[in-house]
Symmetry: C2
Subunit: 717 residues, 2 copies
């Protein structure tokens, strides 16, 4: 429980003063945090290459191009219980949300389509691994050490500050004060949210040398660690404007939720920050399940957890979230080709590449993925294949393609071992939101787990022609070696076998010279072992290989379902009637496939004669696999339709007195509000074809008698 | 972090000495623990009414009545990666399992059917609430105080013992020793697992009075708390046979996983032990979403967590598990009728009622649920309706009805406020496993949360005729009251309004006599408040009511998906060929609806000409919504079919050289291994009708030409 306790002493509960933004920590974890829960829009790369996104980002608009009124949308989402703050009657907890019935159904439909689009379409091996994860696993993956933010505390008011944000804000305020004093124009901040929160500048002129020094610090702000940030605070006397005192020294705050597994506390564990590790740990079993065949992909849909310091962006930054991740394992040799790449190579993607960002621009270009891979813009076919598949998925669920782009990661955003990484970003009222990450992770994860556990996370392939190899080989004298290291023997052996040819040559020389060698083994006490020449031999000799052994590389598309869901809501939202003088009424124009409910059934009145008809219609729709909901409340038909427009229900059936006579019912299209009337069977058939996407409303409407009837357009609530 | 820390001091990591069994803790939580993760078979009700289950339980059998060889089944499930211990390459963690591809798919299919059978069929309001839950919520629900086991530690070897089990085992051993010394027959323990572990008895004769005293203790063993168990240990000098020393005093071990939410540690939280609380907390919003209409049900599918002391029963007792829970809210007035009860009243259930168990028997009776409710055996229609619906669900997914029963809870198993509770139990090789609990929980949860938060978790109904009520009424003088209690004002007000008529009368007298009153308010510092007559009045007077206000009762069907999944596997498992001299080969005869994959497609050989046909077949099946998998490995067709029998794939298609000529393919039935051959289109049509359940294999086979061909029955592996 150490990390939590140490924090108890140093940090209070109040939120940080500055809006958090992209976190640049160590390789293994930086990427992951970016993927799902970081960096809404304010990528703060060093000054010289700051992304001018938000400045240039168009104002958020609705599906119909109207200005998007976020408070109106938020109120509607709450009223219709798409989602709601968790534990609200207890005062709520930041970053935790419950999905109500429509949100829950929308989420289930997105997940269902995801499973069909990826898992079933490509025979991926889906696994469901536990959220509880023991310490050792996340120590190896790098999360225990690196998945952290540097925090300091104001000793006077207890405010918690993110150290890098704090230093940045104060220095920027001083530079702005300097500009003011010099009578220069102070440039606008690029983040509208941050503007409100930034430290207030005073018009104080600085020495030219100081200005240069501050600018240099700001350009490198992402590269300082905690102690260095602490030094900067002292060196430049950076006081918290709120209290006038210096904050405490920065301490690392790990963002994983910690717990203890079992009755004693000697098995510390965490809630996983991603689903990926479970897939990596099962690699050998999955390969066997796949009968040894490569390439293959595993997939997982499940909750992950990140203990965000001060989550404030609704569904876009939460502490508990649903992820869907794919780990596609591929042979690193042969250019990472993909056998279905030809099926997607013509698909045009909107790309924002690294060089463009470096030049300070956000100009995107539309380019066929085939061409992008050929020209080297996207590293390889497999990565390109998944970018195209992600594009198709987002299109399929109803994302507005004009509000989607793929942004390439900058070199300093990526893990050192990653070859290339692109985020699918969706434009919302909060700016560009990264919703899907797609990275080539090389062999990093499999390698570190194999090294730590000794498990062979490799593929063995029969060679058609045996290879003769001359190399440094390690021979272990098991009888001596075992007793020497006891329980650590396996770990030490794994570390030995993981040595490179160069290292072996050096070790061999040590052995010859001193009769023993010293090896770094991080996982044993002391971090080092000594092995004498009685327990080990290292020789340069020939070896014939009949099989090739390799660690696969991993291409990882990683989806944040909550972020996609929220962006999808914004992309499909618009208001009706605002121009006609009536109160504007919200509509969510979800495609039928993802709409929470497909059909609303409304009786004209509460007349008992309608009851059996409503029941029969529900049953018939159910047997067609179409979800429906009856609204037999006393509100007017217009009001009931408006309510369902807000819920995104694409179709509405009305049962009225004519139905009792001739079994005809009306069918209403949510988006156009036009209606047709026909005999029950025909309407059900039309519904089936609209829901499975085989016909459009225009097609259906042209084949059935138009109806202009009971709908009275009255504003809801 | 206190509870975890205090345990660190007292308990080590070694497992308890005796097999854990039904936990009898306090009302609010006892029931829940029983529901999903407790009491595999050894219900240890006090001696006089001990359930003789295991003694009488028939030997576990396969679907075909063969003796069930559990090691063979377990090996098969591992080999086919239905599930696998989590983090196995790191040595594994008890009670945590990952589902591999077939297990994951089986689980998804069960959940999908559950959602169709319950949520969609009855328009339930599905919600998805967070797993992270703040301390206050679970304090109110009773879990923080009561969801615990009493544990003690052997100071010599660090062994962790469950206190009640320990006392019981030692006293039973002494009584057995006494019987031996008296030359009486020692009765067999009813739990085969426990037999191995029980304390060894020595033939020592006890005084008659001592025998009686021991027997009295054992009869009441479930009613002692920790300190009492500690006293018994000292009084009777109960030493741990393994070390010869007395264990430490019992300490409570809370079974919830604890963590800390946010950057400071002043918001302690837990991983939820059930999904129910999130549904209760959202009650008011759900009622509004349902337009105020009663009754209605919410539903939730999600993971829950229980930090079991020493989980050892595979999927039957795990620390992280998937639950599906329904909370059906119903007006307590009017006998809890259900408007669809007539649809199920004829359904016959196998019931094991309370009285039968009290008489020491396990004789079940088959009785129509209509009759059971009418006769008062099952408390009310709504409860009866859900028992029948649970029966239908389990039947639909493929549970063996001859291995299913509903067992009524004993009075001391139930919460004090619960009216009635029945468990759906499935017979497996471990005995009767409770897989679904179905309880009438009265208004307990809504009441405690409303009382604690002041939120009105009630239904308001317009009365047709206004009611005139004469009663004690509380008037609060807000201007005095607010400043008096500041932040606690709301809490104190809620406590005042929650007082009964009797309490109000007493308080009124206090107020008259002393000019002030004293009220217990657990949630404020000190637990008591004083209120003067300037801030409050309590009067007996008339009041006219136009609306009726009530707290709904809750009927809660609660499903442990992992237990159902495992039991379903056992119920559908059998072996083929064991009588013919060949090695026995496992088959899982899942119904097509839940089978992980519906169709296996095998090419006769790896001939390239087959490739396009395989691809086309896969695509055609996918467009029919039927999942398939191609096995083009080099194993013989018989081997490939056997592999898929183990995976429970109901249908197999073979593509051979004849296919190239006349487009015919063969279709194989997993259970009978008979095959038919016909033109592709006809086979696909047959598959569709087999998978959607509209035709049986016999029907299909009688309409298509029989095929006796390539299958060679060879054992797999």
């Amino acid at each position: 429980m150490k990390p939590i306790r140490s924090l108890t002493l140093l940090l209070s509960s109040s939120g940080p003063h500055f809006v958090p933004r992209t976190h640049r920590c160590a390789p293994a974890t930086c990427r992951r945090r970016l993927t799902v829960s970081r960096s809404l829009q304010a990528y703060q790369v060093p000054k010289s290459r700051k992304r001018p996104d938000a400045v240039m980002a168009p104002t958020a608009t609705t599906l119909k191009g109207q200005p998007l009124d976020k408070p109106v949308l938020d109120a509607m989402l709450r009223r219709r219980m798409f989602y709601t703050p968790s534990f609200e009657i207890y005062g709520g907890v930041g970053g935790l949300y419950d999905y109500g019935p429509p949100g829950c159904s929308l989420q289930a439909n997105i997940v269902d389509l995801w499973r069909k689009h990826f898992v079933l379409e490509e025979d991926m091996l889906e696994v469901d691994c536990t959220v509880l994860t023991p310490h050792d696993v996340l120590k190896t993956s790098g999360h225990v050490d690196k998945f952290a933010d540097w925090m300091c505390k104001d000793p006077k008011n207890g405010e918690i500050l993110r150290a890098d944000h704090f230093v940045e804000a104060i220095l920027e305020a001083r530079l702005n004060g300097d500009k003011e004093a010099r009578g220069e124009k102070v440039e606008e901040k690029d983040d509208p949210k941050k503007k409100k929160k930034k430290a207030k500048s005073e018009a104080v002129r600085l020495d030219d040398a100081v200005v240069q020094e501050y600018e240099e610090v700001l350009a490198r702000i992402d590269n300082y660690d905690g102690p260095q940030l602490g030094e900067l605070i002292k060196k430049y006397d950076l006081k918290n404007p709120a209290t006038g005192v210096l904050p405490s020294d920065p301490v690392a705050f790990n963002l994983m939720f910690q717990t203890s597994i079992g009755p004693s506390s000697n098995l510390p564990g965490y809630l996983r920050p991603e689903t990926a590790q479970g897939q990596f740990l099962n690699f050998a079993k999955l390969l066997e399940f796949n009968q040894g065949q490569m390439p293959f992909a595993s997939a997982s849909i499940g909750k992950s957890y990140r203990n965000e310091i001060s989550p404030r962006a609704g569904l876009l930054r939460v502490r508990e979230f649903l992820m869907a991740e794919i780990e596609h394992f591929v042979d690193p040799q042969g250019g990472k080709k993909h056998h279905r790449f030809h099926e997607v190579e013509h698909i045009e993607l909107v790309l924002l590449d690294r060089d463009t960002q470096l030049s300070g621009k956000t100009v995107t270009r539309k380019i066929a993925i085939g061409q992008a891979v050929k020209g080297g813009l996207v590293d390889n076919e497999t990565l390109g294949y998944f970018l195209a598949r992600i594009h198709l998925f987002l299109e399929r669920i109803g994302v507005d393609l004009s509000k989607m782009r793929f942004r390439q990661h900058m070199q300093n955003e990526m893990a050192h071992y990653a070859c290339d990484c692109w985020d699918a970003e969706l434009l919302t009222s909060t700016g560009w939101v990264e919703c899907v990450g797609c990275a080539d992770r090389s062999a990093y994860d499999l390698n570190v787990h194999a090294k730590r556990t000794g498990a062979p996370l490799v593929v063995r392939e029969r060679l058609e022609e045996p290879l003769v190899i001359e190399e440094w080989q390690v021979d272990i004298e098991k009888k001596k070696f075992g007793p020497l290291f006891k329980k650590d023997a396996k770990t030490v052996e794994a570390a030995l076998l993981a040595t490179s040819q160069e290292e072996r040559e050096t070790l061999s020389k040590q052995l010859d010279a001193a009769g023993k060698l010293t090896l770094d083994v991080a996982a044993v006490d002391g971090g080092k072992v000594e092995i004498g020449s009685d327990a080990i031999k290292i020789e340069f000799r020939k070896r014939v290989e009949n099989t090739r052994e390799f660690t696969p590389n991993v291409i990882e598309p990683s989806f944040g379902i909550g972020r996609i869901l929220y962006s999808l809501i914004e992309h499909n939202f618009w208001t009706r009637g605002s121009d006609g003088g009536d109160e504007a009424r919200g509509v969510l124009s979800f495609p039928p496939t993802v709409a929470p409910t497909k059909v609303l059934i409304v009786p004209l009145s509460s007349n008992a004669q309608f009851k059996p008809i409503l029941k029969k219609l529900s049953q018939q729709l159910r047997s067609l696999g179409v979800s429906s909901r009856v609204d037999d409340s006393s509100a007017s038909i217009g009001k009931r339709y408006s309510r369902n427009d807000e819920l995104g229900t694409p179709l509405g059936i009305t049962v009225d007195f004519q139905t009792l006579q001739d079994s005809t019912i009306t069918l209403r299209d949510r988006d156009s509000t036009t209606q047709v009337r026909a005999e029950e069977g025909k309407i059900l058939e039309a519904i089936k074809s609209l829901v499975d996407g085989s016909k459009s409303w225009d097609k259906v409407a042209s084949g059935l008698p138009k109806f202009e009837g009971q709908e009275v357009e009255v504003a809801v609530r």
